[in-house]
Point group: C2
Chain length 351, copies 2
């Protein structure tokens, strides 16, 4: 069974020969071959260059034999075409200017044509599809509307995203208008990636955990659900990853998808109780476990595999992006151990 | 019933006439009278000056008629006396140098005498106790060992606290030695605050949510429990506030205390199911709700009060610190509405 079949079968909770595995941010700074490219190319230049973006997407595939390739890009790429200007300066993360905080700001935004305005992403997906053939799954991705709204309104990463929350709680009508527009853009954007050859699409709701349970339903879950519903007939594996909502993970049931991403703060057995047999699970090793001893790492991998023993629907991953200081040899060990020991976990339970 | 009785009765789940209320970071940047003092005094100078620290502690008491005064200080104050150097520079948060990452670094640390080395905190508590008399509860506080360890090892605030996690997972024996030493220091430090007149002590485990459920038990919960056990015979209300552990809040049951602090990501009704009638609850309004309209704020306050209707053990608070851009008038409205409508919530349910 090749990686693509293994990945897609697990997403459908169907027979797999062993656990599929990939790592969030597997194309990234922990790899010396990635850092070598970044020495000569800025992050945004890399996102905008399909040849190089395909190359860094493929780097972890060559090294680790993971089952899926995730397109190298950034969740802000489509958003930055809607009217704001995106920069990644030295010593700070992404910035979107001017921030969107009023109806006048909102009127500056527009729905983009992703085939035209993010055509570099279209080409990157095509190139990666060609490069992996049918051997590996290709994952496209986007930010979920609430998470993107948070960047658009606060203008940069923030501890509290106070301006975003202020907007939600003082001008909810405006917040809903912006969220609807973002959702429309993301449906088109993910649809474009599927057309270009993506087998799966992951919706990152990285800031969902900023919201109380009811606010999550209103401002995050509803818009993620709207996107996923509109992609239902594409036959693509839809992955929803709402980060840090362990206090109310059950609310993610309202978002139609094949796979729920689970962060490492959560007990995977509990997530299984909540979501099996209707959804597959993706996750959830603490990425910092790859910084420690081999012995504790092995114990954690074994515990992770045991948590879904007898359930076909588990795509093994970290519970968040791989840490830049991770030794690639340790990542290789992680992938190998999952493939080696995962075989015993996949058959359906008798009992 | 005065504020002190109201607060302490709620902590013991005993009769109250209305809900007690205070706000985390109520002595802080959102108050113009605090900012006026900070124009002439650095944060660390303020912590080290009992007269001024008492003054800023009292500012929100005079303005809002909250039921408790929490000592103005910082969780790093006692830690900074153990051997590292603490600085608060412009444009960054606290820094502890050198970071503690090896056995040699650990040997540099020592158990302090809090009466001697943090005598300014002793005097601040005494002054606040004198200032509020028996009208208001006085809350002392400290960081919980895991949270303090995270600052000591990473040396500053961090997104992943990768160095701390690396230590836990590569040198757990060393991590446990440091955690034990911190726990001893914090027992002495909180004991000193109780001697000086604190009615309650709050243990802030702000970074607990960085840990998976089992790691929480091992590296955070166990040490918080050790501190709380050693303070059990002091007759003080013990408050444990583990932030962002909503995915496994039930694990906090292993920490003996009168009151569990609940952050806003959690459904307070669920927390009540978990902890009543053995523990009182403190929280948990989303602090950013104070940035929105009066109308949505009122709805949220009402929902909050309804969640614990019929249960005496609820100290109303925000689910995290008040946001610096909050209008003090809105904070006043929050406190008044809780006192006004809380009265109907406190009597024991018949059913």
């Amino acid at each position: 069974m090749n990686g693509r079949t293994r990945f897609l079968n697990a997403a459908r909770r169907e027979y797999v020969d062993t656990r599929p595995v990939w790592m969030m941010r597997q194309a990234g700074r922990f790899l010396p071959e990635y850092r070598a490219i970044r020495e000569k190319t800025s992050f945004l230049e890399l996102c905008a260059n399909p040849e190089l973006a395909c190359e860094v997407t493929m780097q972890p595939i060559r090294r680790f034999d993971v089952d899926a390739a995730i397109i190298f890009s950034d969740i802000l790429v489509p958003i930055a075409k809607m009217g704001q200007t995106l920069t990644f300066g030295k010593g700070h993360g992404p910035r979107l200017a001017p921030p969107i905080r009023s109806w006048d700001d909102f009127r500056m935004l527009r729905r983009i044509d992703p085939y035209e305005e993010t055509r570099e992403v279209h080409e990157t997906v095509q190139r990666v599809r060609d490069a992996v053939g049918t051997e590996k799954a290709v994952i496209g991705f986007a930010g979920a509307p609430f998470t993107l709204l948070a960047y658009m309104v606060d203008g940069e990463g923030s501890r509290n995203f106070a301006e975003t929350k202020r907007l939600l709680f003082s001008e909810p009508d405006l917040a809903h208008e912006i969220l609807s527009l973002i959702a429309d853009v993301i449906v088109d954007y993910l649809g474009m990636q599927i057309d270009a050859g993506a087998d799966a699409v992951q919706l990152f709701d990285s800031w969902a955990g900023l919201l109380s349970p009811d606010d999550f339903d209103t401002f995050a879950g509803a818009y993620a659900a709207s996107i996923m519903e509109r992609l239902a007939d594409r036959g693509t594996a839809r992955i929803y990853f709402p980060k840090s909502i362990g206090a109310y993970l059950e609310r993610a049931k309202a978002v139609p998808c094949e796979v729920v991403g689970v962060d490492w703060a959560q007990d995977l057995s509990k997530a299984r109780e909540l979501f099996a047999p209707d959804r597959a699970l993706q996750g959830n090793l603490d990425p910092t476990a790859l910084l420690g001893t081999r012995e504790q790492l092995d114990t954690r991998i074994d515990t992770l595999l045991a948590a879904t023993k007898g359930y076909a629907g588990h795509i093994v991953n970290l519970g968040h992006g791989i840490i830049p200081s991770t030794d690639p040899e340790t990542a290789l060990h992680f992938v190998r151990r999952v493939h080696e020991l995962g075989a015993g976990c996949c058959d359906a339970d008798e009992g």
